[in-house]
Structure formats: structure tokens, C-alpha cells
Amino acid sequence: MVQKIENQYKEILNQYMQRQSEQNLYVGQNFSRQLISENISPEEVISVHKAAMQEIYGELPEFVWHSFDFLIEMMINYGLALQERQSLLQRQEELRVEMDLAANVQETLLKTPMPALAGLDIGLLSIPARKMNGDYIYFISDSEGHAGIAVADVIGKGLPAALCMSMVKFGMDSLNNSPADPKEVLGVINRVVEKSIDDSMFVSMFYGKYDSNDSTLTYGSAGHEPAILYRAKSNSFEELYAKGLLLGVSPAASYEQHTVQLEKDDLVIMMTDGVTEGRTDEGFIEREVIFELIDQKKDEPAQRIVQFVYDELERMQNAELRDDFTLVIYKKV
């Protein structure tokens, strides 16, 4: 193989020595790609060059040969840099595969069954900015028509956020599928997060408990983006605000809760800040923009509204998702 390369190189070099045309240089450059793909190092190329010169010209002044030997010495570290690059590329590929696997594991781990409740149509979408999702939705429901939803967001993205999220899941699992009051749920998860998660990690969470017997939603928030309530009767939007510290800040934190009565065609819109903090060329996306989008589709099923809002926001941001995006809509039917 080396012999073949030497012959080809000599041939191409010889052409060029006879006529210094662009055409011959082009042929030479194409050949160099082949050399790289066959892992021929720069020092070897110079050695091949030297051998070709010897064959073409025979006698040349000594200093010419010395200069090639010097050049070979100069190229050794370039050759090593090239090999290092190859091994780093391979390592990067391994990491990519590992991340894909981890993302699959996360998906399975964080799967949550959507409850079927009389009088409630639910739409949801959760899309990670990178491979791993730092947003999380968890449903709890019992047989008496109660269903709880937690919408959580780890401050941060990627792998650390995803690992952190599994703690929130275990905390929610410990509630044993009883959709308790928001104050209580947020208090429990706050203690789990405070105990088991790194001091620099914080989680915000909205928790809403829906009672299908009287169509009420009781909600609380741990420093989370306020949910939005759309009132069909008055065609107006209001924020569902509740006071409470981020999870993991203080074990003694306590949480407020409030209750609202839902009427037919009302919407409850729960989200993470990836929805509102998207940026367009003109700056942050205002909440009014989201109100407007929802207003356009409010008569459609919840899932269609969610998808529409996502598609439109993605379009406004030139398909660049900077943060994990999670949107859930409850529609009272």
C-alpha cells in the first residue's frame, strides 16, 4: 500500500514539476484527501515527497535532503495532533450514543399515564431543548374523580437537570397515587429535593388538583411560572398566582393554595418558562402573544391548541428551542 501511494504521489508531483498548472494542483489536493482518509500522517507525506524527489531528480544538493529531514521532525507533533483528533471524535461519538441511551432511559423512567376524567380534555407537549429533559409532568389520580398534575422545571438543562428530575419523580411516587392538596404535595417534594439534591440545583413546580365532582381546581406553586386561566364566559385571561419558594431552598418553606371553579369551555394553561422565555429577534415573547395564540384556537380540542402554540412559537424563534418546552392545557367540557 505504501508502495502504491509512493508511486501515485511521484506521478502527481512529476506532473506538477513539468507544468505548474492549477489543474495539477487540484489533482494534488484531491490526493491529499485520500491520504488523510488512509491515516497517512504529515511526517509520512514529507518522507514520501523526499523519496519521490530522489527518484525524479537523483542528485540534488545535500542541503535539500537535510531540509526534508528537518521538516519531518517538525511534523511529528502535527501527526500526533491529527491522531488525537481522531480519537476524540470517536470518544464524542461514544458519548453521543450514551446520551441517546440515557435519553431513552429517562423517557421510560418519567412516563406518566394521563388520567381520564369526566368533563376534562387534556392536551400536553413536552420537548427538551437538548437530549435530556429538565421539565417534567406527573399525573396522580384516584378512583373518586380527583386528579393531580405536577409541572416541574429544574433550573438548568441537560444531563444534570434530568438526573435531578428523577428525585422529583421518586418524591411524587412516595405520595402513593393519592392526589393530596397542593400545600401538602409541595411541602413533601420540597423536603425530598432539599435533602437529596445538590445545593446549586433548584426546581420550580406548579401543582394542581382537579376535582371532577364539583369541577374545581386547587393549585399551588413553588416559584413556578403562573398558570393561566381562560374564562370562556368573559373571554378573558387571568393568572393563577400562588406564593411559594422554589423547591430545595429551605426545608421549612410553606406553600399557599387557592381554588377556582371551572365553567364550560374554560381553559387552564400550565407551562414552564421555556414557553414564555423563548426569544425572537425582537426580544422575549410576551405573555400576550401566548394569549393571542390560544385565543385563535380556543374552540379546538386541548391537544390541538397545545400543538398550535408550540408550532407558532417555534416558527417565531426560527426553530431554535433554547430551553425545555412544556405546555399542558386543561379544557373544561
Binding site: 511526517e43 509520512e44 518522507s47 523526499k50 529531514d69 519531518i72 521532525e73 511529528i76 507533533n77 500526533l80 495532533a81 491522531q83 488525537e84 480519537s87 476524540l88 470518544r91
Partner: protein
């Protein structure tokens, strides 16, 4: 069968002497210019590590003949502080010069065989071989 000679590494100039010894032996064995340059680069890196991190030590060059194959063996030995985290050191991109020098991973690439024994507090013994093809 082996033929040996060595250079004590005490000052930066001894690095040059070790290179020279390695090049002479490599040339004598019949290694081509490219392999000579690789072998001396490996010696350079090992000698420089001794000079920088152990203060003093020794580079030994041996000629090898095994099953009709000829080769060169570099031994770099010192009684310096040793290398505590050898796995990290062998990772690409770890060396303090940030990939500018060959470092120990580079020595491994330049040679055919590479073995390192190091005990924290006692010293380091590195052996690297290249076979003539």
C-alpha cells in the same frame, strides 16, 4: 539479547543527549527518518517529564532482538513523586500544555508497546518499544 546504554537526566541539556543516544541507536538498527523522528520525540517527552516532574532520573536505550525481529526499547526511570492519577494522564487532552506536546498518550502512539509503572512517593518506570518492520 540486548545492548544497552543510558543517559542521566539532571539538566535540560541531558534531554538533548538522550535524544542523540536514541537517534544513534535507531539509525544503527535501520529505522527510517520518520521512525527515527518518532523515537526521538518519545525520548524527548519522557526525558522532559523526568526533568520537569521528578527532578532527576535516567533514560536507558536498549537494542532488542526477539524472534528474528529487531527493535528499540526506551526505559525512563526515576525516583520522583510518581503519577497519582495515571488513568487521567493517559486520556487525550489532559496534558498541561493542552495538546501542544505529545505527552504520555503521544509517546504511546509513537511507539508500538508502552508500559508504565508508577508508585506515588517512590517513582516512575516507563518502558516503550518500537519494532523495525
Amino acid at each position: 539479547m540486548s545492548n544497552q546504554s543510558s543517559v542521566e537526566i539532571l539538566t535540560e541539556w541531558d534531554i538533548v543527549a538522550a535524544r542523540q543516544l536514541g537517534r544513534n541507536v535507531a539509525k544503527e538498527l535501520g529505522f527510517g527518518t520518520v521512525d527515527q523522528a518518532r523515537i526521538t520525540t518519545a525520548i524527548s517527552e519522557l526525558a522532559r517529564n523526568i526533568y520537569l516532574y521528578a527532578g532527576q532520573g535516567r533514560i536507558e536505550i536498549q537494542q532488542l532482538t526477539e524472534n528474528g525481529l529487531k527493535g528499540i526499547l526506551i526505559i525512563a526511570a526515576d525516583q520522583g513523586p510518581g503519577i497519582p492519577d495515571i488513568r487521567k494522564v493517559m486520556e487525550d487532552g489532559f496534558s498541561t500544555s493542552g495538546g501542544l506536546g505529545a505527552g504520555l498518550p503521544g509517546v504511546k502512539r509513537l511507539m508500538d508497546e508502552f508500559r508504565i509503572e508508577t508508585i506515588p512517593g517512590e517513582g516512575t518506570d516507563i518502558r516503550a518499544t518500537k519494532w523495525l518492520r
